[in-house]
Symmetry: C2
Subunit: 153 residues, 2 copies
């Protein structure tokens, strides 16, 4: 099997996974730290999804590190299917969460100062942007693995 | 090449395309008819995306009808790639639009009667629900075609 860059078990896959986890952590920090995010359902949704992305990406990063060190990529169709499906579901959930957060923030900004101060609204926006970046990296990972999947079956 | 149900050129693909167009039209009607949707960016986004989904799905439905009548499915890798990429981009855009609409509607509902009356808010919700259904059908179409793509290359 050819070694597709970005597919599970390569160094570029490891970089993608670490990027996903990094942006998810950044999104969580911007949203949770000293902000009352639980007043809005969309923000709670974002926090939940980012809290799911972090362990998922870190686990797969550990698997990638293991594969790189032992120079052996274990690409059973079953495991790869689980990775692809998990990536897909998480990528859609992350997109949904970041879009919801971005649009709720835009509405809060439009309604003015009583609902969110400028400083807090900027943090909501940054959190949504980080979630978008995390979504994009998850999407790239899932695409590479999905492309590899038919060859392993 | 095996005839995968749901892939381009089959009757199930035609049903999926017609379903996409139907739900997109329903979403547009709920949003546009007698409602001032252009006050909110998220609603304008939904209208734009649904207006893109309708011609795309109807064009591919016509292609499917043609394939069914002449009993010949033209699956060139180039054309199938365009269909898959178009479906993918539209499915992500449709998800983003429906999530944004749903969350903006929930915020408007929470802020009460001055921003949207009960009747108007219900229509926003219905529009978002129809957009979700349209997104789901586009996703199914894109998955089937993506699955077929490596075999044609």
């Amino acid at each position: 099997m050819d070694l597709l860059p970005g597919a599970s078990g390569t160094s570029s896959s490891l970089a993608l996974r670490l990027g996903q986890a990094f942006f998810a952590v950044a999104s969580l920090l911007f949203m949770c730290f000293d902000v009352e995010f639980y007043s809005y359902t969309a923000f709670c949704f974002l926090v939940t999804i980012m809290a799911l992305v972090i362990p998922w990406s870190l686990t797969l990063a550990v698997v990638d590190i293991f594969s790189l060190f032992v120079k052996h990529t274990a690409r059973q169709p079953g495991i790869l299917s689980i990775v692809v499906i998990g990536d897909w579901v998480l990528s859609f959930l992350a997109l949904a969460a970041s879009c919801s957060t971005a649009s709720v923030t835009s509405i809060l900004l439009a309604f003015g100062g009583s609902f969110c101060t400028k400083k807090i609204c900027t943090r909501y926006q940054l959190s949504a942007a980080m979630a978008f970046l995390s979504w994009f990296l998850i999407l790239v990972s899932s695409l590479f693995n999905l492309w590899l999947l038919p060859a392993t079956l």
